[in-house]
Subunit: 213 residues, 2 copies
Amino acid sequence: MSSFKQTDKTSITRLSKRGTYDQHTIYSILDEALFCTLAYVQNNEPFQIPTGFCRIDNKLYLHGSVGSFYMRELAEKKIPVCISVTLMDGVVLARSAFHHSVNYRSVVLFSKAELVTDEKELYKALEVFTNKMQPGRWDDIRQPNESEWKKTMVLAFPIEEVSAKIRTGDPKDDEEDYDLNIWAGVVPLKTVRMPAEKDPALKPGVELPDYLK
Amino acid sequence: MSSFKQTDKTSITRLSKRGTYDQHTIYSILDEALFCTLAYVQNNEPFQIPTGFCRIDNKLYLHGSVGSFYMRELAEKKIPVCISVTLMDGVVLARSAFHHSVNYRSVVLFSKAELVTDEKELYKALEVFTNKMQPGRWDDIRQPNESEWKKTMVLAFPIEEVSAKIRTGDPKDDEEDYDLNIWAGVVPLKTVRMPAEKDPALKPGVELPDYLK
């Protein structure tokens, strides 16, 4: 399995054994995460925007309104961005306060926006994004019309300068603390999809589709 | 209930009716979120770090190792930071692809680090943080010793320039789409704490504490 090349910006300096550049690992974190945060610099100050996204091959895709000032800026000025994604997998309860931790999987990507103008790529990005948010959804809904496509802007971010950081497993305490009468372990965290709740304005007779059962 | 003052940086321009500056709302989002992402500028490029945090009164607290380069930099150079927090509450399934959305609550804060040197404040920040990750935990564990305190750095970020953005409720479709035979509604998302899993190295006879049952 191939790995991304380490750079000055992506080298993990703190707890470096948690770092990885493995492509498969990075893709799997990106594909599981339902949102990312995008950071960029404006007037020498940091800005951040949480937003949905999807990945296709080696690009990360965001979409928004053509009226979005920041999206136009990112595309036109080739402003460097930093995009991060974090999945919280558990709270790690050690015997000492000091060794408390969390199990997590995070990705940090440095990239620059490419404005997507190819219609097929634009369409694909929206389809993959929609099906990521709700598997099976795209084929069931009213597809975008001409005017809606014109209002939609899609940006692609090549995935090249990227790293992941991961912690898994049990607490690691100081040797002498293992003998304390303190419970230790992990409380796993999970993002759960609850049963679908229908729109009160739903047309009578429309049944819940199989992919939502 | 008091509100934070709107500034150029915190004014919500896109979908401004989703914006709020209400203190109680902002505090409640910060208190529920288990991690934030902190962004700052280095060599005119954006960097981002996902990290745990807690809030006490009108300050947000992060902690880390005194060996953390970025934390020292933030404190010493008073580098402007942008901190964001996002809670995903649901996937909003409209009849049209275009009106698909998510229910979310997010906060974006602009601030600068203050190095916490007061011992009581330092202690309180660690206690509140630990109990946020696992309610009831602090009183049950081995408290930090002198050497651990010396290795721990706590930064405080005053909460002043801040906004929240929130979407709730059902899909909003175009008038003519309500008659389509397409299911519409919301799939609520929830972060769930699963049953605690004990450390295989747990001392025999140590029972699961009540706050984990």
